[in-house]
């Protein structure tokens, strides 16, 4: 079950809506943050804290592709390989991430440090290639710059 701080956070979200079901999506994000991904246990915790049926929680969560439905690394890298990024070498960066950090495209590194998600445009075509690490944005990427950036994500 969630600890008291998390439960309080969820209570705060519940208080914003007249219907507790409305608090489901934000609560799922919290569960994902706490558990790393939406495991059965994570969804059970959400169901209990909102007094909603487990099947309803899972049904809702499974509709959205941007929740993590599989375990992920400690840090999630989302790299764009769309046209601008591709032209400026994003595919080389994909290979680099795999050889340097052992993280395959759309997979997780063996040490559990990184997951790599190949994503569509993040609106940074002017400063391509670009990526997100967790929620942090980085552009003008090169192998060297990636190495420097990822030093901050252990």
């Amino acid at each position: 079950m969630f600890n008291d701080t998390v439960l309080k956070e969820i209570e705060g979200i519940k208080a914003k809506y007249p219907d507790r079901r409305s608090a489901l999506l934000p609560s799922l994000y919290i569960a994902q943050r706490e558990f790393g991904w939406l495991s059965q246990e994570a969804m059970t915790c959400v169901a209990r804290s909102l007094n909603l049926p487990e099947a309803v929680v899972r049904g809702t969560a499974s509709f959205y592709s941007m929740y993590k439905h599989r375990p992920a690394g400690r840090h999630v890298i989302q790299l764009c390989t769309n046209i601008s990024c591709m032209i400026l070498g994003a595919e080389r960066l994909v290979d680099f991430l795999e050889t340097r950090y052992g993280v395959p495209a759309n997979g997780t590194s063996g040490d559990g440090r990184f997951s790599l998600v190949i994503m569509e445009c993040i609106g940074a075509c002017g400063t391509a290639p670009a990526m997100l690490v967790n929620t942090d944005f980085y552009d003008n990427l090169s192998e060297k710059r990636i190495e420097e950036i990822l030093e901050n994500y252990k």
Binding site: P53, A55, V56, V57, R58, G59, S62, F63
Partner: protein, 859 residues
């Protein structure tokens, strides 16, 4: 008034409805797939599209409300083309495995494709592949066949309220799954099976064992499990029940069933059924012929009667037997055996409560239609979990909650956990003081009602006695407030709080609330014919029709018809019979269709009592623990093997029909009338209807009732007779046995959703869902002992001990641990001692201290 035209026919409607319903009313069929009469309109499949004049596009008939002057066409070239297109899309991912699929023959998709096409598929890509899941014991899922109409999900969420399944994923990867994606782990009502239009959800009880068109006969009858009395249809092939299905919209259940009713029928075909009579010779039970066994019983009972008098004989009737069986039982006991010592295991709850309420408030006070629950503003739930004891009644409470009713639970009701608006938790085993405090709160606002002076007097006394003594329990004031503003209140009473040595305290408080609030009172009833048993006279103090046995005028009428005399004093109640057997004042006992050794608190005492008898006859369909002790065992016929009637908890009399032939056993009433004849009191019936004819003649409550009238569903209280007024002229003195219960743990009786008495353990399906008794306990208690889910523990009380796995239930927040009595070996009743409530004569089961030890190394 709305007048519209459908297919050039003018249709007038007296109330608003959808175009689909309007067409149906006029006999015009519009095809549907996602629509189901038990569910709200959904508008998902679009097969019901129709043309409406002056509307630019095709419209869904299911979601379009009929309006005045509307002109609708339900079949046209464009409509057919659209439907064909929709079906072609649905078939893209459908495996078209009809030759192999169980649903073929009753599949709605198959029928629609037959009618509208397409006859060939154009789709050449790979189909979506999802393996059929057999990971659940009861329900198989084949998601390739699923058309995602969501009927099952809507049934589970909006009607059953279990919310066990949902649509997982999206787009063409949508599929229906339970939370665990494997086992359903739900209430197993199987109502999803009823609504699935294709072969996506199937019952593993009969999968691949027959085709829908191979059914020999379909028999409409009534469920044999609990007091709701759900109508259901039994489908039979080769004299074996293939499946049990509901009929939509019919019966008190309106097409809904629970796990016991739908999946619990297999006991009828159990290998363990008794086939021949058994007579004890040289200490062992040996097979005997009917005439030999009946001669032994008649001779022995006559000998006891002649030597010791009729008062030394007693009979235990059965709330699982029909009205006809029970009527003949009491007639046999009263006339041939000359005793009024007739009672049943219903005395441990229902019969005790019913007698108290009727005595105080008048006959028929508990006769309330189930529909009243759905329409209540406030529902007060006490004593047990309605969703487990009477599951379909529980659904009405859930429906009321969905409509905005206040549902107040005093104590625990796990099945209403997501539905109650308020829960009041009394101190353990001290529910009475909470109900009394609620009652005095209501009384101080409402004051005396004046209809029943002695009840008003009782209320004044109670209110004087407890005034100023507040329990301080949270929620009582809010409950009082809610009850006072409610215009329509229902009280649902479970029998757990009757089983206290001062159980009558709670009963008076409930009676007082019923009286002051003019509430509808429902008594939960775990057996199908508890009410019928009382009405047909299987109680020590009343003849059939609720006529007191000690009033000579009433007795005379029965004696005239039966042509035999009836003893004039009231007989012994159940626990007194057991006590009588123990102290040897009862010499012979006749048990019909029940298992007192396992189903009464104090199992070892009951065993000792039965062991002390000179003569024990047991009439049953199984060699129960009680039958094993008998001198003669007579095999009876079970549910679906005989006709008869049951009276449900709302006092509706319903017809049971015979569905299967069997060579072993005789109807209970036939055995008893044979014995009666042998003992010199002829009872000539050739079929069960003859018994009803006699009952309808002698019992004022059943006056003129016929099987035709009962079959038509018209046998509703108060039938044709006049009920009697209450018989108590003052409130029986209230004994206050309250004390604190501070031991670590107390044992309490669990009433599981999936079992019923010792009958359901012979149903394979129910044993798969719930194979073993578990000790249900709260999180705090489990943590204190360091127990995890599934750990095995030894439970010891002063009466005995047993082993069981632990099941942790977060809804229990007191120091009770719950164990059921449904399984072979030791059950909860064997571990209990009891005290007797001096007013209701029900056994009190409170305060049974239990020691719990973890068994290491296993679990």
């Amino acid at each position: 008034m709305i007048t519209l035209t459908i297919n050039e026919r003018e249709i007038t409607l007296d109330k608003p409805m959808s175009v689909l319903d309007a067409a149906k009313k006029a006999g015009i069929k519009i095809p549907t797939l996602c629509h189901h009469e038990a569910l709200k309109p959904y508008g998902g499949c679009r097969l019901c599209v129709v043309e409406v004049e002056r509307m630019p596009k095709l419209q869904n008939a299911c979601t379009l409300m009929a309006a005045d002057g509307m002109v609708v066409t339900t079949e046209s070239e464009e409509i057919s083309r659209t439907r064909r297109g929709i079906l072609e899309f649905l078939l893209i991912n459908h495996p078209l495995d009809c030759p192999y699929c169980d649903k073929a023959g009753e599949c709605e998709l198959q029928d629609l494709v037959n009618k509208y096409g397409p006859t060939t598929g154009r789709y050449t890509e790979e189909k979506r592949k999802v393996p059929e899941s057999h990971k659940d014991h009861i329900l198989a899922r084949n998601m390739e066949r699923c058309v995602v109409c969501t009927r099952c999900v809507r049934m589970c969420n909006d009607v059953q309220g279990a919310s066990a399944i949902n649509v997982i994923g999206r787009g063409n990867r949508s599929r229906v799954e339970p939370f665990s994606s494997e086992s359903f782990n739900c209430e197993y009502c199987g109502n999803c099976l009823t609504v699935c239009p294709v072969g996506a959800i199937l019952s593993r009880l009969y999968i691949h064992s027959f085709r829908p068109w191979q059914i020999d006969k379909e028999v409409e009858t009534v469920c044999s499990y609990c007091g709701v009395g759900c109508s259901l249809v039994v489908q039979v092939r080769d004299e074996s029940i293939k499946r049990v299905i509901p009929r939509m919209g019919s019966g008190v259940n309106r097409g809904l069933l629970c796990s016991r009713g739908r999946f619990g029928y297999e006991y009828i075909h159990s290998e363990d059924r008794l086939r021949t009579p058994l007579v004890r010779k040289n200490g062992t039970l040996q097979q005997a012929t009917w005439s030999e066994a009946l001669d032994v019983v008649a001779a022995k009972l006559s000998a006891v009667k002649n030597a010791e008098g009729g008062a030394s004989i007693a009979g235990i009737a059965s709330p699982r037997c029909t009205n006809e069986d029970n009527y003949v039982f009491q007639r046999f006991m009263r006339t041939a055996c000359g005793t009024n010592n007739i009672d049943s295991l219903s005395r441990t709850g229902f019969a005790a409560a019913q007698k108290y309420f009727e005595g105080l408030l008048g006959q028929g006070i508990t006769a309330n239609l189930l529909d009243g629950l759905k329409n209540s503003e406030t529902i007060l739930v006490l004593g047990d979990d309605p969703a487990a004891v009477n599951p379909v009644l529980g659904l009405s409470i859930r429906e009321a909650a969905r409509r905005g009713a206040d549902v107040i639970v005093i104590g625990y009701a796990k099945g209403l956990e997501k539905f109650h608006t308020l829960q009041v938790i009394p101190r353990v085993f001290r529910e009475a003081e909470v109900i009394e405090e609620i009652l005095t709160g209501v009384f101080s606002d409402r004051g005396v009602r004046g209809d029943m002076p002695y009840v008003d007097k009782g209320l004044r006394e109670l209110s004087g006695r407890i005034s100023g003594k507040k329990t301080g329990i949270e929620g009582i004031d809010e409950t009082v407030k809610t009850l006072l503003k409610s215009a329509s209140t229902s009280i649902v009473l479970g029998m757990d709080i009757v089983q206290r040595s001062d159980g009558h305290r709670a009963l008076f408080a409930v009676a007082g609330l019923t009286y002051l609030l003019e509430a509808r009172l429902y008594l939960l009833s775990g057996r199908p014919n508890e009410q019928g048993l009382i009405d047909t006279g299987c109680v020590p103090d009343m003849l059939p029709g609720g006529r007191p046995v000690n009033v000579p005028d009433f007795r005379g009428k029965f004696e005239a018809v039966w042509k035999a005399s009836v003893p004039d004093s009231e007989g012994l109640t159940l626990m007194e019979i057991i006590e009588g057997a123990r102290n040897r004042s009862i010499k012979a006992l006749y048990v019909m269709g029940d298992n007192p050794v396992r189903n009464i608190p104090g199992g070892s005492i009951v065993k000792e009592a039965l062991g002390a008898l000179d003569f024990l006859v047991v009439q049953d369909i199984f060699l129960s623990e009680t039958a094993e002790m008998a001198d003669v065992v007579l095999p009876a016929l079970g549910w679906t093997e005989k006709a008869g009637t049951y009276t449900n908890l709302e006092r509706r009399i319903q017809l049971l029909r015979k569905a299967v032939e069997t060579s072993s056993g005789m109807e209970d009433w036939r055995i008893l009338s044979e014995l009666s004849r042998k003992m010199g009191v002829p009872a000539n019936y050739s079929e069960s209807e003859d018994v009803m004819r006699e009952l309808a003649r002698v019992s004022p409550l059943h006056r003129d009732l016929t099987y035709e009238e009962i079959a038509a569903g018209d046998a509703l209280w108060p039938y044709n007779g006049e009920p009697l007024r209450g018989e108590m002229y003052e409130v029986p003195a209230i004994v206050d046995a309250a004390r604190d219960y501070n031991a670590d743990f107390y044992l309490a009786v669990d009433k599981p959703l999936f079992h019923s008495g010792t009958l359901s353990r012979r149903s394979r399906a129910l044993m798969k869902i719930c194979p073993e008794a578990a000790v249900r306990m709260g999180e705090a208690g489990a943590a204190r002992l360091g127990l995890k889910e599934g750990d095995r523990v030894r439970l010891s009380t002063s009466a005995g001990s047993c082993e069981a796995p632990v099941s942790i239930d977060g809804t229990i927040r007191d120091n009770r641990v719950f164990l059921s009595g449904n399984f072979p070996g030791s059950g909860v009743y064997d571990l209990m001692n009891f005290s007797i409530d001096t007013v209701t004569k029900a056994p009190g089961t409170e305060g049974c201290e239990v020691k719990i030890e973890k068994i290491e190394g296993r679990g």
